[in-house]
Symmetry: C2
Subunit: 347 residues, 2 copies
DNA sequence: AGCAAGTGAGCAATCGTTTTCCTGAGGGGA
DNA sequence: TCCCCTCAGGAAAACGATTGCTCACTTGCT
């Protein structure tokens, strides 16, 4: 009697969120049966199941995920580590991943290391402690990065590298097809009849700059041509560099009839210089950029033809591979996502 | 005997991650004692505690967070809902929040609604199911948004709105001080001796455009002046609009000696037009932008003086308020973060 | 020496679900 | 009529850590 009294009037719903025991009580079954009714497991009379479902609806019951996770060992969570802030490149990747994962019941834990190894270890330990089902790692550049390491327990967590691959080929990576992107750009210019092509791009120590230059040149030479200035113009990823480089190119090789630029900022700088020199784009000189960064490509005069890396798709695919890895074990190796040519008025 | 055999050689560590029971066994104490040794609770011989700590170190033990969360009811997780993609504005806010929270042992669950109410409900339910300790909501604009609602159980979760406040004044919001920002801009121009100021900004249906225009004008009139063109030029947040508007302003009010622009893209457009018209900036006409968006402000010729909303700080403060709310209960009301004037060569 | 006070450590309940057994009732066949 | 089989549903043991309560053993004091 005393106990009953302290617990409130009999039949009155307990305060706070309903638990499965409340549902079971209301439906007049045991907790185990209620659980089975919810999960479809076990055989039971349809009528009983319905009574449980009604009770669930009436109480607005939602299972406690901590309890479920404790039991199953799964957290229905994946970690998303971005190694260098959340910038132009990691954001679409992140969105793609979030999209693919969120469609299921998996949530995304965001970890930003700001390029700091200490922070990375800190977050990594945290993720492992939370028993995440997997980890996606993404950097802001395409340069390979050393694999995650240094935390015990990490071995049992599948990891997928997106955009910036792991230096260890045994890891699973999803990257952009830089070779294909460069090929698309060069092919597009060639098919428009341009043969005196200049290439202005970012710093040589960036893999993106090196790779695009190399593959673009390969393709150009494969078609029997070379660079109009005889060399690649490495510099910075900035408009200012684009402007300066365009000047230099016009001086060195006035017969240049197209620019293939390492990114849209450079391309826009080139466009500005051409414009100021009275060169019409694309009639006199065509321009192709890289990245399809709207604010740059669209604001440029004229709007830029450019290569889109499909970053969102990279994130999506990385997420899908991670899901595969979680369910069926890791399928190591690199996977590249093709680029897309976006034609606008600069060609 | 049989059991011992099946469990492996006596003393051999069990496979998988170590649990507290393993630690206790190794240290020769009970599970409860091991727990107390770790948490500093309860009185015990220092030597016993040390034995437990040694065992923890040897096994690389880390507590299972699911078990802890189940027991304490806390998840050490907060949800971060961005309502409109993850863009220019939400990213710094997000980073600020992640920074402030990650310093402790709290992690961030990322939810992106893409402006879709269905998705918002979906994520919200998910967050509540995960028993998050709190939620930060951020939109990409400063327009107020309706408060989160529609999910049972949400009442007990503290929510802080960042950047875009809740329409309900009883909610906790952290926003940018648009009035102060506009004042900073106008004051800066006035103190440089400019009195014929034009204002070009975004669409009138954006609160940011309206507020900055209103407060800027108020301040201008307070100083005894008015807008050089007699009106605010509402339009779009684009460079193209900045270019067109600058043309219009020069035609209407050729004696204009300064532009205050609603964002950096517009400001850059204005700068481009002035440049092409042979007007020197800042000697003939000064320009102040808004947002301090590096890629715009720095690439502009000349680089733009602009207003920085301190978005990262907004995220940080939102996170701090959320932590307060979690620990001490909600402190409703609006909180504004002051802006910062960044002077560059356009003034 | 005997009793009270104090202290170190273990037991067991708890958090909320899932899942494996296991029981008991009812039906059908011999 | 009796036995066996089936199937609905309950009891209880996990999952791993925390914590209040209890017990046993030292001390210290009279």
């Amino acid at each position: 009697m005393l106990v009953t009294h302290a617990a409130g009037a009999p039949g009155s719903p307990p305060a706070g969120r309903a638990k499965l025991a409340d549902v079971a009580a209301l439906a007049g079954v045991s907790v185990g049966t209620a659980s089975k009714a919810l999960n479809g497991a076990g055989r039971m009379r349809p009528e009983t199941r319905q009574r449980v479902l009604d009770a669930v609806a009436e109480l607005g019951f939602r299972p406690n995920q901590h309890a479920q996770s404790l039991h199953t060992g799964r957290s229905w969570t994946v970690g998303l580590m971005t190694t260098d802030g959340i910038g132009r490149f990691s954001t679409p990747v992140l969105l793609g991943a979030e999209d693919a994962l969120g469609a299921g019941k998996i949530s995304v834990l965001l970890c930003d290391t700001r390029g700091d190894a200490i922070r990375e270890q800190h977050h990594l330990r945290n993720l492992v402690d939370r028993r995440v089902d997997g980890i996606i790692v993404t950097g802001r550049r395409t340069d390979p990065r050393p694999p995650l390491t240094g935390i015990t327990g990490l071995e049992s967590v599948p990891v997928v590298y997106a955009l910036s691959p792991s230096t260890d080929p045994a890891d699973t990576s999803v990257t952009s097809d830089d070779r294909g992107g460069a090929r698309l750009a060069v092919e597009h210019l060639l098919s428009a009849g341009r043969t005196r092509i200049a290439h202005v791009t970012g710093p040589e120590h960036h893999a993106a700059a090196r790779d695009r230059a190399r593959h673009g040149l390969e393709h150009l030479e494969g078609a029997g041509f070379g660079l109009s200035t005889g060399r690649v113009h490495f510099g910075e990823w900035s408009e200012a560099w684009g402007r300066r480089a365009a000047d230099a190119v016009l001086r060195t090789a006035p017969d240049t009839d197209a620019f293939f630029c390492g990114n849209d900022q450079i391309a826009r700088g080139v466009a500005d210089t051409l414009r100021e020199r009275g060169v019409t784009v694309p009639e006199d000189i065509a321009i192709v950029g890289y990245d399809n960064w709207d604010t740059m490509a669209l604001a440029s005069r004229p709007p830029l033809t450019t290569i889109d890396m499909n970053l969102t798709e990279i994130g999506r695919i990385a997420a899908l591979r991670l899901l595969e890895a979680i369910d069926e074990g890791l399928a190591p190796g690199a996977h590249t996502v093709p680029c897309r040519l976006v034609v606008r008025e600069s060609t």
